[in-house]
């Protein structure tokens, strides 16, 4: 009764119970171990497989009968599990009590439990579980001991024994009280076993784990430090801070379900702030994010203040010089080896010069980084050759700017150049604004003279009257492109390659005269501020999909535009606000699969004609026919000129040769 009382003690004083349990274990354990050792020595022969199940049954059954207080206490938690008011404390204390008792009994030095002994055979057929008249409580006690002794045998492989294990498992279950413990019993058992090996045995301290996320957290934290006072003053002097309100744009895009998570957008915002404070920037914008295989690119679009980009031009010159040097080396080689075969007559097509910084496809400068907080890297200006080649290939970005681009046709440059080319293409194709937001500058009156190229100068229209979101969705003609489209040549403004070559290389005029007749047609693209309704789709797919952010509250709706030609390019318009952004893989949509360009046909080595072609050998029939014809001829001209005979003779010889 006392024991039960102890078990029902309120769970509040857990500590006390734990202490009690520990004490119980400490008192019980050594005696039990000692006893166990003795017992094993004595009993080993008897624990044959025939006896074991019987013993177990006996144990179980005796416990159920509950005539013995120890057996009762032992049995309680095992079969019922839930609903038992007891807890781990009670169980363990009781168990240790039982151990003590068993230990005492063992001192009586009872031998192995054998079939002829009383208490054996209770489970013979005909015996009910509860209706039998058990002869003697001593016998039950004996059976109980035997079963327990079996359970206490420690495993040779793991050193554990089932009894302790069950105690631990049940303690865990009763401590943690999971729902439906019977369903997850195996897992708990596994967990308990696994926990056995986690005991820390050595005195060495574990090295503190350094997660890779710490490093990036450090980088991000740097974004939150306020920059020096000097910078702020400088900005104030300028009056106008070129930093865009990224969060506002993100808010409008979020209405349409587009955008990164807010935290991340804010980090990008801070990163842009950092960029603006470091570089002499006039305008700045968050262009978007391009996904890569290893890392992603966050891209900022900026325009430098005038006269502060000298750095770049120097770099370019260096590159040019490098090219020249290469050429010189080649020339020298050619001079040395004069016995070499004649020079190739192939002349590479004239290189189309890239557009000046601040114009055309190079109007903006782009900075990229992989994670907000990392240093921004400036992308090199794009060349027409890169744009032309980028149109023919389709590659995923890796996230490393210096990664090579392995492709066919070969791409001139590395991933930084490819990224820049794709950015130029995406910008040209998808940067749109509401009709009337921009207007052409008034200074340029002579736009007709310039031809199809159109004016490339526009300014914000102060009299812009915004359309409602509904109207923006109704028709695509309310949207216009404000970035010039890139021509096939790879430039926004057409450049005539022939003119320049004539000027430069007066010597080779004769050769060029042949080329001049097929005058190159000037390529023209749609003029600036062309409505989107003129965009051509891909087969039946329109170029753009429009939607409203909400149909239920039309007065606050935002018009959202998705590009189908560049999946991942979006635009929004809401009142006087509009924005463009790109989130995607940097690939243009293509119907079906991408097919790389085939290599050009192999050049012929020499003109292929009948004079150098090997004739097929005549067949036997042909020869016979020919011979017959010859003979007939010979018969006709019976008079017999010696020459003919000679000919026949020759023919015979030939035939013989062929036979050989």
């Amino acid at each position: 009764e006392e024991r039960k009382e102890a078990g029902r003690a309120p769970p509040a004083d857990k500590q006390a119970r734990r202490a009690a349990r520990a004490a119980a274990e400490w008192s019980g354990a050594p005696a039990q171990r000692e006893w166990e050792r003795q017992r094993q020595q004595v009993q080993k022969p008897s624990l044959c497989p025939v006896n074991r199940p019987r013993e177990l049954q006996q144990f179980h059954r005796l416990s159920l009968k509950a005539s013995l207080p120890t057996a009762e206490a032992n049995s309680r938690p095992a079969p019922s599990g839930n609903g038992c008011p007891g807890n781990g404390c009670r169980f363990t204390s009781v168990a240790s009590e039982a151990e003590g008792l068993l230990g005492r009994l063992a001192m009586a030095e009872h031998g192995p439990y054998l079939p002829h002994e009383p208490g054996y055979g209770l489970y013979q057929p005909g015996y009910g579980l509860f209706d039998d008249q058990t002869p003697d409580p001593d016998h039950r006690m004996l059976a109980c001991q035997n079963a327990k002794a079996y359970l206490l045998q420690s495993s040779l492989t793991s050193g554990l024994n089932l009894y302790d294990h069950l105690v631990n498992v049940l303690t865990k279950i009763l401590d943690e009280r999971p729902a439906n413990p019977v369903d997850i019993f195996e897992n708990i058992s596994k967990d308990v076993k696994a926990a056995q090996f986690q005991k820390k045995m050595d005195t060495l301290r574990d090295e503190h784990e350094i997660l890779p996320s710490f490093e990036s957290a450090e980088i991000r934290r740097n974004l939150f430090f306020k920059s020096d006072a000097g910078d702020e003053e400088r900005e104030e002097e300028l009056g106008e801070i070129p930093l865009p309100n990224v969060m506002e744009t993100a808010f409008y895009f979020e209405q349409g379900g587009i955008g990164l998570s807010r935290d991340e957008t804010y980090l990008i915002f801070l990163a842009l702030k950092k960029l603006v404070s470091v570089q002499p920037i006039q305008t700045c914008r968050f262009w978007g994010r391009i996904l890569g295989r290893e890392k992603n690119y966050i891209i900022a679009e900026v325009q430098f203040r005038e006269g502060e980009e000298e750095e770049e031009t120097e770099e370019e010159e260096v590159i040019d010089e490098g090219d020249k040097r290469m050429d010189e080396v080649e020339d020298e080689d050619e001079e040395k080896e004069k016995n070499e075969p004649p020079k190739s007559t192939y002349k590479p097509p004239p290189v189309i010069p890239k557009e000046e910084n601040g114009t055309g496809a190079n109007k903006h400068v782009y900075f990229v980084c992989n994670e907000p907080g990392e240093p921004w890297v400036k992308l090199p200006p794009v060349t027409p050759a890169q744009i032309v080649c980028a149109r023919k290939i389709k590659k995923f970005f890796t996230g490393r700017l210096d990664a090579p681009i392995v492709s066919f046709p070969p791409f001139p440059g590395n991933e930084a150049n490819y990224l820049r080319a794709q950015i130029a293409r995406i910008s040209a194709g998808t940067h749109v604004s509401p009709l009337g937001y921009y207007r052409f500058s008034e200074e340029e009156g002579d736009e007709d003279e310039e031809g199809g190229g159109g004016r490339d100068d526009y300014e914000e229209n102060p009299d812009f009257e915004p359309l409602s979101a509904f109207e923006m969705v109704e028709s695509l003609s309310t949207w216009v492109h404000h970035v010039p489209s890139i021509l096939k040549q790879g430039r926004c403004v057409w450049f005539n390659p022939l003119q320049k070559t004539e000027e430069e290389e007066g010597e080779e005029e004769e050769e060029e005269k042949d080329e001049v007749p097929d005058e190159l047609q000037q390529e023209t693209g749609p003029p600036l501020l062309t409505p989107l309704s003129e965009d051509e789709g891909i087969q039946n797919i329109p170029a753009w999909t429009v939607s409203l952010s909400t149909r239920l509250i039309p007065q606050y709706a935002v018009a959202i535009l998705r590009s189908n030609r560049w999946p991942g390019a979006y635009a929004f318009a809401c009142g006087t606000k509009f924005g463009n952004i790109y989130f995607g893989w940097g690939h243009k949509y293509s119907l079906g699969n991408h097919t790389p360009a085939l290599p050009p046909p192999v050049q012929p080595e020499y003109p292929n004609g009948p004079e150098i072609r090997e004739a097929a050998d005549p067949t036997v029939e042909e020869e016979l026919a020919f011979k017959a014809a010859q003979e007939q001829k010979a018969l006709e001209g019976m008079e017999g000129e010696e020459e003919e005979e000679e000919e026949e003779f020759e023919e015979d010889e030939e035939e013989e040769e062929e036979d050989d």
């Binding site: 979020e254 209405q255 587009i258 295989r293 995923f396 392995v406 329109p542 999909t545």
Partner: protein
């Protein structure tokens, strides 16, 4: 993923376009629960969306007690009214494979097939079927394909009971950071195919209750998954390069995981596409400009192929006996091109390309 986890999931897995405007997101919170009530599902998962030209399909899945059992799929155009989709059949998938281009956004739209070649025409005519495919069927087929190809779960997240049904593993505590980097810790949540082909040695380390699915490790083509740590290295994000738009996220050491698809429902085939040639797999890897063969023992050391089959979409052409020195092709990427060119010259094909 569970509707309750949707807001967090969208924050973690947002890769630009979730397709869910705020209005739709809020509507999902209510309508998915009602879906569970009306159809008597044990649980409802939001699967993602497929964007069309004129509208977007939002897809939800209803699950019974057994997670591996076929799931009911429902679609909606406004996230409020849901309609049940028919189960996918092999025929549907075959037919849908012939279609190209974007979805229209109208479930009753019927595709007419002008592009289907003569052979297929005959086949369909014999069956006495019309030459049209309803967009609804295409939708079903696409979802089925995506689920089969790239529906993934972390290892140990699901458990197979001795009775064969699959349940969530309540003891799953998330992958460790080192595990999360490896593709072998993620499983395709579909009928395993490669598991049976594993050797006994490989199977020895597997636990039958948790490792009952195919891992992503040996996915063909290799490199069709990107594994990235995002949000400052706290979330692992897997993206499929075959089905652009599929994003899987998992916060290591926690139970948070799930995938969402938001894309056009178009499979990218230009990375590399496996085709079977005489029991071997020919893989054209456009990313690295390589063509290589996977032999029965997964060794790419095949000296030459005597018979090469070229596959037009849907059909197979035997091109006769061609000696193709294999090594050359792996060394020089353009050799493969020239080889194809040679075939173009020697046959009637106008153009032969990689698939």
């Amino acid at each position: 993923m569970e509707p309750a986890a949707l807001p967090t999931a969208l924050q973690l897995a947002a890769s630009g376009d979730t397709g869910l405007s705020l209005e739709k997101r809020a509507a999902l919170g209510a309508s998915l629960l009602l879906l569970q009530r009306d159809y008597r599902f044990e649980r409802v998962w939001f699967w993602g969306c497929i964007q069309g030209v004129r509208g977007t399909y939002y897809i939800a899945q209803g699950l019974g007690p057994d997670l591996a059992a076929p799931r009911s799929r429902l679609y909606s155009l406004n996230c409020v009214e849901w309609s049940l989709l028919p189960p996918a059949t092999v025929e549907m998938v075959e037919q849908a494979a012939l279609l190209k281009g974007l979805f229209q956004g109208d479930p009753s739209f019927e595709y007419e097939y002008a592009e289907v070649n003569a052979e297929d025409d005959e086949r369909f005519l014999e069956d006495g079927k019309e030459l049209t495919i309803k967009e609804e069927n295409r939708l079903v087929a696409t979802i089925e394909q995506i689920d089969r190809a790239v529906g993934i779960i972390p290892r140990r997240a699901f458990m197979k009971t001795p009775l064969g049904s699959v349940h969530e593993n309540r003891n799953f505590e998330g992958l460790s950071l080192t595990e999360a980097k490896k593709l072998s810790s993620y499983f395709h949540f579909t009928e395993p195919v490669n598991l049976k082909n594993k050797t006994l040695l490989e199977k020895a380390d597997l636990d039958p209750s948790t490792d009952f699915l195919d891992s992503l490790e040996h996915d063909v083509p290799q490199g069709s998954w990107t594994v990235q740590f995002e949000k400052g290295g706290t979330v692992v994000v897997l993206r499929s390069l075959l089905w652009l738009g599929l994003t899987f996220y998992h916060v290591p050491m926690t139970k948070q995981y799930g995938y969402i698809y938001c894309g056009t429902g178009w499979k990218i085939k230009h990375i590399c596409q496996p085709k079977t040639i005489l029991g071997r797999t020919l893989i054209t890897d456009m990313e690295n400009m390589k063509i290589y063969l996977q032999g029965e023992k997964a060794s790419p050391v095949v000296k030459n192929i005597n018979v090469l089959y070229l596959l037009d979409p849907g059909r197979m052409h035997k091109l006769g006996i061609l000696k193709w020195m294999w090594k050359k092709c792996t060394c020089l990427p353009t050799t493969a091109m020239h080889f194809l060119l040679q075939i173009t010259d020697s046959t009637d094909f106008k153009n032969i390309s990689f698939w």
